[in-house]
């Protein structure tokens, strides 16, 4: 009988202990959880902005407690997915045109669009002595006109905003015809970058942000094209209709627009 009682007591004790642990765990969970009413925002990000956006998303989560999930792709593919019902909340395009199209189709919140980054075009070679950084466009002309190379890489102007910028630089320097037989085109700026990095193309127009990302030993030589040589590469962001009442979506666009993040974006090679 006494044994039985003992058993019963020990059972009660262990039950109480378990309950205590349970409560403690619950309290701990509540403490470590993000602020109340945390929401999730699914962001469609143009490929050229992958690296900065990963950093920004982490900072955003730490600061606001909202969750930011990222999906990457070329702006064109993301646009096609959005028009066919992809569940994105915010779209970071690589240009203005695709954002305008989405607004025109009534799929985005009108007036929520803004420029989150401006791309900078550079003439780049993987070799350290191929391009000299000077102020004059004549020097650039000289390097390209000399034509001491087999291939010259740029992004396809029809598909990539950096390609369109490269095309207008060539047109401005009146080099379009003389370089015609040497031009190879990447379908996006990442592929163009690969052509030059692997040495298959001696020179190419790429994005400054891509070179900034390299180790110093791999940076080769580049020349920052003056901004008045090409139409600005303005990258637009917009909130999609489906997220018009998602507080995390507007929080993210506000965060992107804040001074601290603008500074961060500049450090990645954007204006």
């Amino acid at each position: 009988m006494i044994n039985r009682l003992k058993k019963c007591v020990s059972y009660c004790q262990s039950y109480a202990k378990a309950k205590l642990a349970h409560n403690a765990l619950l309290a701990l969970l509540c403490l470590s959880a993000p602020p109340l009413f945390a929401d999730e925002v699914l962001v469609a990000v143009a490929s050229n902005f992958i690296k900065p956006m990963k950093v920004i998303a982490e900072r955003f989560e730490a600061e606001t407690g909202h969750q930011a999930k990222l999906a990457f792709g070329s702006s064109g593919k993301l646009l096609a997915q959005i028009t066919h019902g992809a569940p994105f909340d915010v779209f970071l395009s690589a240009d203005k045109d695709k954002v305008t199209r989405i607004i025109d189709k009534g799929l985005a919140v009108k007036g929520s669009e803004f420029i989150y980054a401006k791309g900078r075009l550079v003439l780049w070679s993987a070799k350290s002595d191929a391009v000299e950084s000077t102020e004059s466009t004549e020097a650039l002309r000289g390097v390209l006109e000399q034509g001491d190379f087999d291939y010259f890489a740029m992004a396809n102007p029809k598909l990539a905003p950096y390609g369109a910028a490269a095309k207008s630089v060539l047109a401005r320097l009146e080099l379009t015809d003389s370089l015609k037989d040497k031009v190879v085109m990447g379908e996006n700026i990442a592929q163009t970058f690969q052509f030059v990095q692997t040495g298959n193309a001696a020179l190419g127009f790429v994005a400054l942000s891509q070179i900034k990302d390299l180790d110093e030993s791999e940076q080769g030589s580049h020349w920052l094209i003056p901004t008045d040589c090409y139409p600005a590469i303005e990258q637009y962001a917009v909130i999609l209709k489906t997220a018009s009442d998602n507080p995390a979506a507007s929080a993210l666009t506000e965060f992107l627009n804040s001074d601290s993040e603008k500074k961060l974006i500049r450090s990645f090679g954007y204006d």
Binding site: S74, G76, K77, L79, A80, R101, D150, Y151, A153, N156, K158, L159, V183, V184, M185, G186, E187, Q191, Q194, F195, T198, G199, N200, A201
Partner: protein, 227 residues
Amino acid sequence: MTLTSADYGALWLTFKVASLTTLILLFISTPLAWWLATTRSKWKPFCSALIAVPLVLPPIVLGFYLLVLMGPEGPVGKVTTALGFGTLPFTFAGLVVASCIYSLPFVVQPLQNAFESIGRRPLEVAATLRASRLDSFFSVVVPMAKSGFLTGGILGFAHTVGEFGVVLMIGGNIPDKTRLVSVQLYNHVEALDYAQAHSLAAILLAFSFLVLLLMYTVIKTPARIRV
């Protein structure tokens, strides 16, 4: 149907690359498949696996490594440059070489299967009739493996036509030189010219259906299984 001259150029170029690749592959694959079908070498599994690798590797990845290998800094690129051919990426020849690697398993494997299914017996009979090895290969093996050649040829051709990732990586999108129909189609889609993309896709779809229909019509295997 609103096809531009660039679309027709891409179609014609694709046809040229695919035909040339198929011819080259039939030449390379015949001895290779014969060796695989007859050898007892311990290297056989190794070689079979190596040939099948393009089946597994995502084409973009394969294309990227070909770009690195055949570029001026890569080992293959250094050899081709030393031989005076220059580097292969962004050239028609480069596309054919890459397509051969990409489509190799599609030609080797049907051939190997066809050779293996012949068995030893017909060759032994040919030998008793004093046929030399070469003679018995051409007058016994080749006719008996006809369906293998047809399947391999058609599959190699069709697979090369549908090739995308490799071409995208090493082609460089040069009109009439390396811009094949799959890349042209992709350009239309990315540029949001959907109408143009649909026309080209329709042609590609009709073509592939016809090729497969041809394959299954020509290769009339007698019904061996009766239920």
